[in-house]
C-alpha cells in the first residue's frame, strides 16, 4: 500500500474509554485514524441500530493521535454506518473496534457492540477486526497486546482478509504467550436476576449470571485464553446453517 491507509476506529465503551485511547495510539503508527465512537457507553448492544430516534454528532478533541474524531449519540453499528456513508469521503481501508474492556470470546461475541461494529464494517465491504481484553477494569493494562494488535492488523492488509470474514480477537490480562487461531467455544450464561427494591418501594431486577463452558475441545477461544494465548476467531455474518438446508428441505410444510 503506497499511501498510508485510512483506519476507522470505534468501540462500544464510548469515546472516553482507555481501551479506545490505547488502540488509537498504537494503530496510528500504521495509518491515518478517524474515530467515530458512541458518546456514552453502549456495552452489550450487539448489532443494534437506531431507527426510531434522531442521532446527534459532534467533534471531539481528546485523542492526539487521531486525524479526526467524532462522538455519536448512537450504537457502535450506527457509528460505522454514519462514518462510512456520511462522514468520510473515502472508504476506509480497515476498521478496528475496541479495545473492549471485557471478554468477547465464545457466546459473548453475539452481545458485543464492539464486534457488532466490526461486523457492520464487514457488511460495508471493509476488512474489520474486533479487539477485546479479559479485563473489565477501566485501568486495565494494554501494553502486552501492542505487538500482536499491530501484527494482526498488518496481516489483514498483507493477506487480504476477505471482507465477508471478520476477526474476533481476545487477549488475556497482563501477559500473552502468542496467538492461536480458534473456533467460537460452545458456551452459554446461566442467568440469575438479582431482585431489589428501588427507593420508591418498587421491585426491579438486575441481570447477572454464571458463565457455563462445557466445551472440552482444545480448539476453542476459551481454551486458548485459559492457556494464556490471544484467540483469533474468523467470523461470518452469513448465519445460514448450510449443512442443515438439505434436511430442512425434506420437511413437509403442506401436511
Amino acid at each position: 500500500m503506497a499511501k498510508r491507509p485510512l483506519i476507522i476506529v470505534t468501540n462500544d465503551d464510548g469515546i472516553n474509554a482507555p481501551g479506545l485511547k490505547y488502540l488509537v495510539k498504537i494503530i496510528s503508527a500504521i495509518g491515518d485514524v478517524v474515530i467515530i465512537a458512541p458518546d456514552s457507553p453502549k456495552s452489550a448492544t450487539s448489532q443494534a441500530i437506531t431507527i426510531n430516534s434522531p442521532l446527534y454528532i459532534s467533534r471531539s478533541y481528546i485523542h492526539p493521535n487521531a486525524k479526526l474524531e467524532y462522538q455519536l449519540s448512537g450504537t457502535p453499528a450506527d457509528c460505522i454506518k454514519f462514518g462510512v456513508n456520511e462522514l468520510l469521503e473515502k472508504k476506509p481501508d480497515i476498521c478496528v473496534s475496541g479495545i473492549n474492556h471485557g471478554s468477547n470470546s465464545s457466546v459473548n461475541v453475539l452481545y458485543s457492540g464492539t464486534v457488532g461494529a466490526a461486523i457492520e464494517a464487514g457488511i460495508q465491504g471493509i476488512p474489520a477486526i474486533g479487539f477485546s481484553i479479559l479485563d473489565y477494569n477501566w485501568n486495565a493494562k494494554f501494553e502486552h497486546m501492542k505487538k500482536f494488535i499491530l501484527s494482526i492488523t498488518l496481516n489483514v492488509f498483507k493477506n487480504k482478509l476477505p471482507s465477508n470474514i471478520i476477526l474476533n480477537v481476545n487477549f488475556p490480562k497482563l501477559r500473552v504467550k502468542g496467538v492461536k487461531v480458534c473456533r467460537q467455544a460452545n458456551t452459554h450464561w446461566k442467568e440469575k436476576f438479582c431482585k431489589r427494591e428501588n427507593p420508591m418501594g418498587k421491585e426491579y431486577y438486575w441481570l447477572t449470571g454464571d458463565f457455563i463452558d462445557n466445551d472440552e475441545s482444545d480448539e476453542t477461544d476459551e481454551y486458548a485464553l485459559k492457556k494464556g494465548y490471544a484467540s483469533i476467531v474468523p467470523i461470518r455474518f452469513d448465519l445460514t446453517a448450510k449443512d442443515y438446508i438439505l434436511k430442512l428441505k425434506k420437511w413437509d410444510f403442506n401436511g
Copy 2:
C-alpha cells in the same frame, strides 16, 4: 408429546403489537402460551441485553389466549433470559418470536430483535423460530400466514430441530404460494442520513437507506419472497467461519 407443550412467545415490536397478538391467538391451538415481551417497541435491537440498567417486570392482561403474560422493560433477548431463568419453573418446549412487523430476511436478520430473541432461546437450548412479515403496517393482514406458521411449528416438534439451529421465517404480504428453504441473501443497506434541525436549532440526523441486493442466486430468501413464497433460513449462532481457519493458521503473527 403427551402433554400440551409450553410455548414462550416474544417479539421486538412490544407486547401491544398486532403481530404478537395474532401469533398468540393461533399458536395457542398447539400449546400453553406464556408471553414475555418488551413493554415498548424495541425494533432493531439485535441481540442486545441490558446490563447497566434495572429491569422492571409486570403482569399484562391483554391477550385472552395466553396462560400468562408479562411485559419487561428490556430487550427481546432480555425477555427470553428473564422468562427462562426467572419466571418459568419448567423449560419451554419451544420459543416463537414475532410476528415481526417488517422484513427480517437477508442481512436484516442481524439487526432484528425478533430473531435476536429466537437466537437467545437457541442458546438456552430451546428450539426457536422467528416469524416476520414484509409489511411494516400496524394493521398488516396475517391470515395467509396461519396455515404455514402452524405447520412449521409442528414440524419443529416432529423433526426435532437441533437447538443450535434457529429458523428465520419471512412471509410476503397478503398471499403466500408456499414455503421455500433458503440461504441468507448477500445484501446490504446503502445508508443515507437525513439531516434536520430540532426546534432548538441543533442539527440531528435520521438513519435511512436503500436496500441493495446484488445476490442473483435463486436460492436466497430474497428471491423466494420476491416470487411470493415464505422463506425459511436455518441459522446458527456459532459465527465461526470454519473454512477460513486453515488459511488463517498460515498467517505469521510473530513476523
